[in-house]
Amino acid sequence: MQDKKAFVAIIKENEGIIYKITRVYTDTGEDQKDLYQDVVYQLWKAFDSFKGHSKISTWIYRITLNTAIAYLNKSKRRVKQVRLNFELLNPIDKKDTLTEERLTALYAMIKQLNVIEKGIIVLFLEGKSYQEIATITGFSSSNVGTRLSRIKTKLKKTLKTNMYGT
């Protein structure tokens, strides 16, 4: 009972993290809901083994990213998914179309990256330090730095291509 209460509180506190990551790894709202449910399920499954050695957010980032990877690998193999009826968070004020456009463009750029880069850029955008990204992803800090600079170059190229169509 106590466990359930604590778990629910943690999920409520961090539902934004789950929303942001699941959106990166899915193309439609329905898929995002499926992955969202999957993440909550995986977190619940791993909750007992969470010993508190790391920060709760670190644990959530790790499991959410891992579940996203697993989801990508089995999405084509899904049988029947029982989807709960719930609303996803709304990242912008509905009237603010400019922000909406910029956010759509931002997600589109991230989605063009490969699976390794997606995880790293999301954590970077979340304001995590190289060391924190390294702890969550399992790469070394220097490797995270190298990869981020490659991502930066890649994003610049994508932007150029989108602007000039070449």
Partner: protein
């Protein structure tokens, strides 16, 4: 959009999101329960059913194996039997290895490596399956003909429609195999690229 600009936009979105609370206590617990009940019906259903069918046919073949009385029928029987037993086991083992990747314990990197390797392995088996299916098609006809109709197709021959059927099926299988091979090749390459990039 520069990286810093992306970061600012992301931060703005995070603030907006953090102000909202969509999930209720009941919904969160439903999510855990819902997935729990689904888990068992997922992933391996088709493969398990396929494996049971293969093993049943293999059992029938083993029981009646002594009725295959020439070297070529025995050869066809051995290949068919080997296929029916080996391939489903390899596929199920491969799926098991995908399922056994520990999401709760692994780092992101370990998960990517685990999935890419397991996926590559499964794809290689499925690619092998394409070739084997082709041979199986050719070996199971004489075996089935002998065991079900007691006819040695190599000696008695067959009707024109039977040859026509074999010819058309063979042509279709060649095209399907070529298409399948290309698909698997691309997917295996993509898994290999990810693994290669992780070595950098």
């Amino acid at each position: 959009m520069e990286l810093e600009e992306m970061k600012t936009l992301w931060r703005e979105m995070s603030v907006q999101i953090d102000e909202q609370k969509q999930l209720t206590d009941a919904l969160i617990m439903d999510m855990t329960q819902q997935k729990y009940t689904q888990k068992f019906g997922k992933i391996t259903t088709y493969e398990t059913v396929g494996a049971v069918i293969c093993f049943t046919i293999a059992l029938f073949l083993i029981i009646n194996f002594n009725r295959l009385d020439t070297w070529y029928l025995i050869s066809c029987g051995i290949f068919t039997l080997g296929y029916l037993i080996t391939l489903p086991i390899l596929v199920l083992r491969s799926l098991k290895s995908i399922k056994s990747i520990h999401i709760g314990r692994n780092s992101y990197k370990e998960s990517i490596i685990g999935f890419a390797k397991a996926k590559k392995h499964l794809l290689l088996i499925q690619k092998l399956g394409i070739y084997c299916n082709f041979i199986l098609f050719l070996t199971c006809i004489p075996v089935a003909s002998k065991l079900l109709g007691n006819k040695d197709i190599f000696l008695t021959g067959g009707s024109l429609w039977k040859y026509g059927f074999i010819l058309i099926t063979t042509i279709v299988m060649i095209f399907v195999s070529k298409w399948g091979y290309r698909c698997y090749k691309n997917m295996i390459n993509s898994a290999e690229n990810i693994l290669k990039e992780l070595e950098d």
